[in-house]
Amino acid sequence: MKRKLSAWSKTAIIIRREYLIRVRKKSFIVMTILGPLLIAALYAIPIMIATMTEGKRDIEIYDETGLYVDSFKSGTEFIYYPVAGNLDTVKQRFLRSGRYALVHIPATEFNVPVTAIIYSQSQPGMNIKGEVKRVMGKVAEALKLKAKGYDPEVLNSIKTRIVVNTVKVNEDGSEKRGNSEVATGLGLAAGLIIYFMLFMFGGQVMRSVIEEKTNRIVEVIISSVRPVQLMFGKIIGVGLVSLTQVALWVLLTLALTTGVSLVMGEKMQKRMVEKPAITSIGSGVGASAMSSAVADAAEQEDNAGKFQMVMDGLKSIDYYTMLSAFFFFFIGGYILYSSLFAAVGGMVDSEQDTQQFILPVTLPLIIAFMSVGYVLNYPDGAFSIWLSMIPLTSPVVMMMRLPFGVPMWQMVLSLLLLYGFTFFTTWLGAVIYRTGILIYGKKPSWKELWRWVRYKS
């Protein structure tokens, strides 16, 4: 008697085929490369835009009042050239100079003139307009205060910035500075990624089952292996593909973002150092300029504070828990949904016929997805807790709640419920699948489906 392969090694052969045909596909390679590129782009584009300059622009300041000209300080974006003379000759000279814009602040009879005209050969950008407004506004504010008899310093001293820090108190009494914006962002991202992955890879299992039915190869295979072996071989094979994809995404994303921050981060830092330096040059050139410099510095400090808070928030997240929770909730959710998707694939002859059966399967996922607004606002609300316990919605909702901190018992209970429920769905999926794959040409009614479930194998 020849030695034959065991049932287990046959399942392994199925898993290997399902895995290899997918990772060899061009679409897998494209997705693997595109994914991190998209994430890196999301990360890099704001930085790129923030650091992007069109080169320095030459701006002429024709200040008839003499009150503002000193407050225009050349910097990274604009270089200011004070000009004087008759308006017409100034304009003539401006046209010949080829400079970018001419800012004309006309003298008025008011104590504090508040109008300016920008002349430019092309429509000037928003940035120069905004810059003129900002510089003039600060000077005018100080002048008006002075006119009413207040010291501009008083205004600066009463400007108050409220800082709200969120602190997470753990059961053992230790504290952690959190950041609810960061938690919201992370929760949203984790929930969305699980949602899309369940749809994507569950759908792959379904399409693969339909393909075997339409190819008419399924009966050849199940004369060699049990239908359940084929179904699980497929689910495990596609599952391994999904984990491979995620692992590659994580690695490539890390590599890319590290690369991006090495290049971009330097620029960012330079900019942050430059700005306060420029404003400090202006100090000591009169009370008005002084006040604006102080305000600038305060704003800068504010930005730095926000940055620090985000960093604190990011640091406060327990990534080890996040990643392992993602792993376990994704696997559980994937087994649950892919076995149901496999059953749907077994019921029909073509993908067009799936609509009727797919909706009941995906409805809980869609509900989980639509509850995102509520869950992120009330991560500890009763509704959120319930959704994060019910196995059909828990993978998505628990991942949304996680960055806000979830008690250990809830996480363990939710996982137990999820994995317990997968026993039911895999059984249900298998009994429907093994009957459905042998039936061609008609879609079953719900009543027939119930009969399939009761058939003996």
Binding site: K10, I13, I21, E212, I217, S224, V225, Y440
Partner: protein, 307 residues
């Protein structure tokens, strides 16, 4: 002892019974024909034999002992609904299916190469299935059915969809497998092939076996007492024939007459021959047995009117 035996198989689906107390026995080294109209229950029986579905009642014996799940490795099954992965390469796919039958990779590879050479298709190894014509795909399907050298082969409608050349090739291969000692179960509508290939048959109609046994005995039992004889011209006329003997047709072939005679009493064949020999010189004598096609139609019609 039968090589494969199904005893009193019952399979019910809600609302109808697919198989009602069906028994078949397949002797070792023979070709067994499973016949019946569409929807009679043939495919259900074949799926039960392949352990794709289980019977509600009844027993399955393989080589004398109850059929076990691991026995499928010794079965080769070509289903009626058959196909291959379109996007997969021919060789890779054949290897995959052979290994699912339990073959080790090296052995499967060697056997497949041998079959590919035998069928003259070794150049297809790296082609994708979708590049092959339907006839070419059928050759590949046949190879993956037999590559693991099974002792029992089950072909469900093997000739459907085959062009005549490939159908003939199939017939020859089936006979060769039989010569090499394999036992074969054949489900088919093609009654000519039943007469050519099958030793025994079972006819299933409306979930029940209505006829079974060896092909020659069944044909004898359906005898209509029709005989063909060749004699000299005008040697046989209605007047000369004894009572109960009738001439159905007579064709002149040169100096000979070929006559078809029906006998309307229960005389056995030697008796008929004796009677005719006494009348004149016989150059040929043979009984015209009904074809399987006629028996099939007759039996099904009878069983339908009985119910």
């Amino acid at each position: 002892m039968y090589f494969l035996e199904a005893r009193n198989i019952v399979k019910r689906y809600t609302g109808h019974t697919a198989l009602n107390d069906v028994s078949i026995g397949v002797p070792e080294g023979t070709v067994f024909g499973l016949l019946g109209p569409n929807g009679a229950g043939k495919t259900t029986l074949i799926r039960i034999l392949n352990q794709i579905t289980g019977p509600d009642e009844g027993q399955l014996l393989f080589n004398g002992s109850p059929l076990q799940p691991h026995d499928v490795a010794d079965f080769g099954y070509l289903p009626e609904e058959r196909g291959l992965y379109k996007k997969m390469k021919v060789g890779e796919q054949a290897l995959y299916l052979a290994m699912l039958k339990g073959m080790h990779q090296k052995e499967a590879m060697a056997e497949l190469k041998r079959w590919f050479v035998k069928f003259g298709i070794e150049t297809w190894w790296n082609k994708k299935v979708e590049e092959l014509s339907k006839g070419m795909q059928q050759k590949v399907q046949f190879i993956v059915t037999v590559v693991h050298n099974p002792s029992l082969l089950i072909f469900d409608e093997p000739f459907s969809g085959f062009d005549p050349i490939n159908a003939n090739l199939m017939k020859e291969e089936i006979l060769e497998l039989k010569r090499k000692g394999a036992t074969i179960i054949l489900s088919t509508h093609n009654m000519n092939s039943v007469e050519e290939l099958c030793d025994n048959i079972a006819l299933i109609n409306r979930s029940q076996k209505i006829l079974g046994g060896s092909v020659s005995e069944i044909r004898k039992s359906y005898s209509k007492q029709l005989f063909e004889v060749t004699t000299n011209n005008q040697a046989l006329t209605s007047e000369k024939l004894p009572d109960g003997f009738y001439i159905e047709s007579q064709i002149k072939e040169g100096p000979f007459d070929r006559s078809t005679i029906s006998v309307k009493n229960n005389m056995d064949t030697p008796g008929v021959l004796r009677q005719l020999v006494m009348l004149t010189d016989l150059f040929t004598f043979k009984e015209i047995l009904p074809t399987m096609d006629e028996i099939f139609v007759d039996a099904v019609r009878n069983s339908n009117t009985q119910q």
